[in-house]
Symmetry: C2
Subunit: 113 residues, 2 copies
Amino acid sequence: MEKLQSKVFQIGSEVEWENVGPGLNRQVMGYDDKIMLVKVKFEKGAIGELHEHHHSQVTYVVSGSFELNVGGEKKVLNEGDGFYIPPHVMHGAVCLADGVLIDVFSPHREDFL
Amino acid sequence: MEKLQSKVFQIGSEVEWENVGPGLNRQVMGYDDKIMLVKVKFEKGAIGELHEHHHSQVTYVVSGSFELNVGGEKKVLNEGDGFYIPPHVMHGAVCLADGVLIDVFSPHREDFL
């Protein structure tokens, strides 16, 4: 079986955008079976609904402002901040100002391919 | 044994910076045993020396410009681009304009804690 992995280099302007909800668009960047990096662009008011998954997740706030809810704990995060979501912990986000999140998962998100 | 994991929320202005070379500073953000997100600030001319490790790595270019070398293949990457480094593939970067990379590893980098 061919090894599951992305190309080595991802040029942002060449990667397909997928609309995944109102004001929510994403690009799947680098990945293999153990890890996957996803760029998610939010418009103000866009909502990442509360959900959970078996993957560990780490996220970096590239720009914008977001109210996070992780396991019932709420916090407003801005450019330069980040968060960690353990497996199976409920989480969601509301975008307070247009911005970009870098979500990274381990293992990779099969459902995103 | 206590589970290895970071706090849920990382506030960028509160996370310790570590100098890791000339013009190179990093913050360890979210992590557990399977994944770790690291913010690396580069000044123009700073060099990430060629090296390899057993971790899978995905990186996002938040800002700046970088000449990457991954397994001998060279490419200039800018804001919004990314790259994937398979385990044990030699890689390095030269910073062409001040910027920030988000490096994410699986499993986590024990050597960064």
